[in-house]
Symmetry: C3
Subunit: 208 residues, 3 copies
């Protein structure tokens, strides 16, 4: 059982990989890591979420290690930041947040779909879609010896989870797969962008 995205999907997927890699590399530069550290954080942020998903569903070697274009896109993101980061830092935060939300939606939806293809239970598929979206950023923060940002009060992982759930419900309602994916991605993207714009956050525990 091979998972072969179409050419359009591949292009979009590589663009998301490049973007996540750029964000990981920016965090590495901010932490004064060297060239190797920048490349590792670019790679980890962009690809580790999907690698964890593939290891857990038994799809090894993971897709991003079977197709050299994924690591190449990740390292390209690292190199762009390494040489051009004074330029990259001038990109307005709103642009980065919007692009990041798009990449998050893409990764969450693609991860959920792949988990469904591998016959995972819908609840588990939603979890694996979320891990695909936020796993890389979590590992990036662990490597920087920080509590992962996704665990703090912010609508990020929960946007990915909401998108994954919407996609699964739409699939169960027998909507066409493409429509289900678009709906899920739209929910994740909108929720993320609106939450930043409106300063929404998740509640903390009662009485804490």
């Amino acid at each position: 059982m091979v998972f072969t995205p179409s050419k359009l999907l591949l292009t979009v997927d590589l663009a998301g990989t490049l973007l996540f890699a750029i964000e990981g590399a920016l965090a590495a530069v901010a932490a004064n890591l060297d060239l190797f550290g920048v490349m590792v954080l670019a790679f980890a942020t962009a690809l580790v979420g999907g690698i964890i998903r593939d290891v857990l569903i038994g799809a090894v070697p993971p897709a991003s290690l079977r197709d050299w274009r994924y690591p190449a896109a990740a390292f390209a993101g690292g190199a762009i930041v390494f040489f051009l980061h004074p330029l990259i830092r001038q990109v307005p935060a709103s642009v980065i947040i919007t692009l990041d939300a798009a990449a998050l939606a893409l990764f969450a939806v693609a991860g959920t779909e792949k988990a469904l293809v591998y016959k995972m239970h819908p609840l588990v598929a939603a979890l694996l879609g979320t891990i695909t979206g936020v796993g890389g950023g979590t590992v990036r923060d662990v490597l920087l010896a920080q509590v992962p940002a996704v665990l703090r009060a912010d609508i990020y992982a929960s946007a990915a989870l909401a998108g994954a759930i919407v996609m699964i419900v739409a699939t169960k309602l027998r909507l066409p797969p493409t429509l289900a994916a678009i709906l899920g991605g739209f929910v994740c993207f909108s929720l993320r962008v609106i939450s930043v714009w409106q300063h929404w956050s998740l509640p903390q525990a009662v009485g804490s």
Copy 2:
């Protein structure tokens, strides 16, 4: 080769999962994480030990992702803490330590047995049983950017290891599997409870 615990074992296993999840969620609340962070730490503490074991022995997808009741139990533990943690915090420490020791014994014994079923070397099976018991708590601490508690001076992981070893020796002596499991679990549980009660700890290196 499928690992199908009986109904009683499943119930006990889910109870252990719920308890570990509650402990992980309490750590998340103490660290001011949001709802999503509480759920992630509940899930990680309860299930990641077994997931690591299953990935290493080649039993993918891991048992806790093939049966939706395991993530459901973990998230139930997270929700209980999220909404009721002022109540939960009034549970006496001695009760929590005793229940935790029981869950540790259960996980260590079940993990060792599964590794033996998958034909691992006894030394490796004991390691995998220990990882099943303490892996989740280790990942929880890493996510909180802390040195894992199990690596510090305390009889916790070593109780799990002792239980695993007793179980393996009993199996080699051809005792019935159920008896071997009960013996191993009893050693792990007693060692943990007595060590807390008597303030035992493991030695640090000579001359350090």
Copy 3:
């Protein structure tokens, strides 16, 4: 497809495992961990790099869990440090750095070769060889709640990567496998030793 190193290779491999374990255990003692913590860091530093590689290429159970001599060598390293670390600390730094460079070269070359045997793309094989060499030390540092040393400015992981690339190029040029491995190992070892001696380091990002 089984990966069976010859007796000489096995001996060298176990020696490298022992050495990496000793280094991991020294870090654990310096962080005041207890006996169990020393053993975990010895095991993780020596074997986790190869375990990650094996999980990613689908070679589970990992080689170091299928052959009990690998964990035994790792725990022997932990025990040596635990009982004799005042002696071990008197070993001159230059000796440790030279032996460590040799172990790094060995692990990087062996990891690259195994990835090639499993038909990974050359770029990916070089990455997996590097992970084999530095993955254990990275996990050690994460368990100590520190930013991994390999991500900071130093020629270490990059020496492993250079050795892996040289080995792959030599293989593509149809040199005999043994010669390719020796060339790659020699480049890794020399680069590491010379860089320490000459205080070389990798650049940080432009303008940071």
